[in-house]
Homo-oligomer: 237 residues x 2
């Protein structure tokens, strides 16, 4: 049944469903995003998506090979939204910082969807554009190909990793958040200065810092290290 899916440009017959909805790849992906952001990651099932669209669940298999394929399409749509209207400034370091910031922020805007998809190679249009852009910035800055690729890999996976982590945190129910806050105050705050001197000395700082995302710090450190490496290359070159 893998030949059920017809490539988008070969689609012609826009036949409405029983409930009068005209399906399309975009409509399905958008509805999936809405479903996830409104009712949580668990709400994204083929059946529920069919219901939300006003179509039989099995209809979706005309557009996507399987549920995983659909998920990849959702992930790519997220990347697309994050990079919309981006333009390079000429400063590779600032550009990478902005790119990272956008990817991370875009992912956080749809935490549940990110949790489901942050780690996948989609091979779709938006992802390809992101790869090309970031690689171009690094090679343009003067990194040798091998190092440009290595730094690109660290850069993109760090952005996705933090996105997944922070998204998972943002997606937690309120009760879990309160419990976390409480854990910092009581469990960590109650530790003895003798047994846990370092925690005891920094508890207020810890509680304040751990609440937010460490991604900006990590991104800045990665870029600082990259700049230092580049200085070595240009001195040698």
């Amino acid at each position: 049944m893998s030949d059920r899916v017809v490539p988008p440009d070969a689609r012609r017959r826009r036949r409405p469903t029983k409930q009068g909805v005209v399906l399309s790849e975009e409509l399905i992906v958008e509805t999936a995003l809405r479903l996830v952001s409104e009712h949580g990651a668990d709400a994204l099932t083929v059946r529920r998506l069919g219901l939300a669209l006003g179509a039989d669940p099995s209809s979706l298999y005309r557009y996507f090979r399987n549920a995983d394929d659909l998920l990849l399409a959702v992930a790519d749509a997220l990347i697309g939204r994050a990079l919309r209207d981006w333009a390079p400034s000429g400063d590779w370091c600032a550009d990478l910082r902005e790119l990272g910031r956008r990817l991370h922020a875009g992912a956080l805007a749809h935490p549940q969807a990110t949790v489901l998809s942050a780690c996948r190679v989609t091979g779709r249009a938006h992802e390809i554009r992101a790869v090309e852009t970031a690689l171009g910035l690094l090679r343009g800055a003067g990194f040798p190909d091998a190092e440009a690729v290595r730094i690109y890999h660290a850069f993109i996976d760090q952005a996705l990793g933090f996105a997944a982590l922070d998204a998972a945190n943002a997606a937690l129910p309120q009760a879990a958040h309160d419990a976390e806050e409480e854990a910092w105050r009581t469990t960590y705050g109650g530790l003895s200065e003798r047994t846990h001197p370092n925690i005891a000395a920094t508890v207020p700082l810890l509680a304040a810092t751990m609440r937010g995302s460490a991604y900006p710090t990590a991104l800045n450190m990665l870029l600082a290290a990259a700049e230092a490496r580049l200085a070595v290359h240009t001195r040698q070159g």
Copy 2:
């Protein structure tokens, strides 16, 4: 039915299953770990676990509230294994590198459990010990408290983020992996040098590099940046 679970110390009757197995929390967790490492992430279902144990699946609900509870227990066992036998060497940078390596490797050894649990703050013993240790390394190295906390946060979330990302990747079914490999070869390999010059110039490097984890690179860059910062502080101090 949440009162089905009896706390471990209240258990007395060691009644064997039909197939002669005597269940216990530890045996269940260990069997779950074995199941995952032997037959892949998808093999960890309540039904399959019951089968592997020689017990009815519903018996497991005498020991765990639900499948998620079971997974958390598995994850907790993982943290314990990852930090077992660790001892500081005196070189803060090398120690942090080793700590990061262990956390990451431990998580990768059991991807499925990591994916579902990397983002939770447990507040348990092992986690507390890890916090105290890493903070101690940074403060001992000479970082001011505020910066030690910031760098610690970046360090630990980087480890967890990459662990989640790489674990999710490792947890993919074989078919998805093949598809990914294929995507790099055909989709990215087939891009024109004119439209995507940077990808075209580095495709072999990309395909080779993206297969592995970027965590070692990212960790080294973070530590390099930290060392550079420390040099500034000690010069000033």
